[in-house]
């Protein structure tokens, strides 16, 4: 069912069989906003200038769709007051910017090339793709991002955060979960957790700033051969364990040490209150990470 909307048309779609299918033609440069209280939002990309929506909402639920100016808005609604669970499966033009939000909502995005903002309270966020401003926030749910580039801000509170093959400016934070950054190309990375380990495998570029922090966990950072970096390493109760020679240039009080490699151009801060700090070469880290992955029974890609 191909429907073209004029500006500001609000349509409620709720066929009795509990699911809705609709397709909306959109102008180039349009953006998508989805608000779904509970359920899931799954977004794929195609090359057409249309947004295809498949929603499963049960007989008590409904969805509302509108196109106002350049923004397609989809909302879950319900006919009887209490919010119902809706599963959205949406296909969008590749370059469409996305704003996806919900409370008990899992969010999954694959193959888009535009900006992405995804926020949920209780639900995981899994994004592959994206460029520009990428902001992913969950409270109770893990957040993963792969194959993205841009200004990236990724947060969970109670679960882990995982970035792979990501480039650009990166800020990543969680409280109760591990922080894993692999295949990163960046000159500005800030990754921290309180109760979890931190792993970084990526570039250490001249003039870049990098900061890795944990309270309770171990931090493993890869330093490529030939990197020029001033490393400030601090741990109150843990060990510092480099797998290559690390010339100490300064100590600052108990617990903090500065090492200089090459010209010392990049600045890196690696700090864990109670955990160990491991400094490795990229090849060692990739091996270490692959073993860990096998144990986790976790499927990548």
């Amino acid at each position: 069912m191909l429907t073209t909307f004029a500006a500001a048309v609000l349509v409620s779609l709720a066929p009795l069989q509990g699911e809705t299918d609709t397709t909306i033609a959109v102008p180039a440069g349009a953006s998508l906003s989805v608000n779904n209280f509970g359920g899931s939002i799954v977004v794929h990309a195609w090359t057409q200038n249309r947004v295809k929506v498949h929603a499963e909402h049960g007989s008590r639920g409904a969805i509302e769709a509108s196109l106002v100016g350049n923004t397609v808005t989809l909302r879950a609604s319900s006919r009887h007051g209490a919010p119902s669970v809706v599963d959205f499966d949406i296909t969008v033009p590749q370059d469409m910017a996305l704003t996806l939000s919900g409370t008990y909502t899992e969010i999954e995005v694959d193959g888009v090339r535009g900006a992405i903002t995804a926020e949920t309270v209780d639900g995981s966020i899994d994004v592959r793709g994206g460029s520009g401003i990428i902001t992913l926030h969950s409270i109770q749910g893990s957040v993963t991002l792969a194959d993205a580039t841009g200004r990236i801000e990724v947060n969970s509170v109670n679960e882990s955060v995982e970035l792979s093959n990501v480039s650009g400016q990166i800020k990543a934070e969680t409280t109760n979960g591990d922080m894993t950054l692999m295949g990163i190309k960046s000159s500005s990375v800030d990754a921290s957790t309180i109760n979890g380990d931190v792993e970084y495998e990526g570039t250490v570029s001249d003039g870049g700033t990098y900061s890795f922090n944990s309270h309770n966990g171990d931090i493993t950072v890869s330093i490529p051969e030939g990197a020029n970096v001033t490393l400030s390493v601090a741990t109150a109760n843990g060990d510092i364990d480099p797998s290559f020679p690390l010339p100490l240039t300064r100590t600052e009080g108990k617990h903090r040490y500065t090492f200089k490699l090459g010209s010392g151009s990049a600045r890196m801060e690696v700090e864990s209150f109670q955990g160990d700090i491991q400094l490795r070469r990229p090849s060692e880290m990739r091996l270490q990470h692959k073993d860990k992955d096998k144990d986790k029974n976790h499927e990548e890609n």
Partner: protein
């Protein structure tokens, strides 16, 4: 020697009491619930997916149950609620594994390649082993319908197929398993 307690023998209100305690953050109450229900959940997960994943996923189920206890209103028995949550976790895991919808085989013998002729009783695979060897679709329908008691309409919705497929997969599973009834 297991410290499992069969749910039937515990008074229903002690389970309900533990559920209420656990919902307000009492971890030892939740541990008691775990001890009572872990065998059932683990068996469900193992039969729906496989033995390798069962341990991890069982933990996932209980962690999720802890998180969602706030939404358990006590209208059904805790065990029923937990069970439904486990099924959801298993189904979500299916999706993550990229199981395509409709990967259901329609061959005559889903256990082809596995000896099971009625006339040769020396094959010794028992019922549960044979169950594990069924193709995913047939096995999951069988577990949900015959072991767990869901109806075809519900199963169809959960697995993303039409009820007719659920019925035919159930039939395939039963036909394949009949050669492996323990003697």
């Amino acid at each position: 020697m297991s410290d499992q307690v069969v749910e039937d023998t515990l008074p229903a209100d002690s389970i309900a009491a533990d559920a209420a305690l656990a919902a307000s953050g009492d971890a030892s109450a939740f541990e008691r619930l775990y001890r009572t229900h872990s065998a059932r959940i683990h068996s469900l997960v193992r039969r729906m997916l496989d033995a390798d994943e069962a341990d991890d996923l069982t933990q996932d189920v209980f962690v999720r149950a802890w998180q969602k206890l706030g939404t358990f209103r006590g209208e059904s028995a805790f065990g029923t609620w937990l069970h439904r949550l486990a099924v959801n976790v298993v189904l979500a895991r299916r999706k993550t594994l990229g199981v395509e919808r409709g990967r259901f085989q329609t061959g005559d013998d889903p256990l082809e390649g596995v000896s099971g002729r009625r006339e040769t009783p020396e094959m010794s695979m028992d019922f549960e082993e044979a169950l594990a060897k069924l193709p995913d679709g047939a096995r999951q329908v069988f577990v949900l319908h015959d072991v767990e008691g869901y109806r075809h309409e519900e199963i169809a919705r959960m697995l993303g197929v039409v009820p007719g497929t659920s019925k035919s997969q159930l039939h395939h599973a039963r036909m394949a398993l009949r050669r492996h009834l323990d003697r």
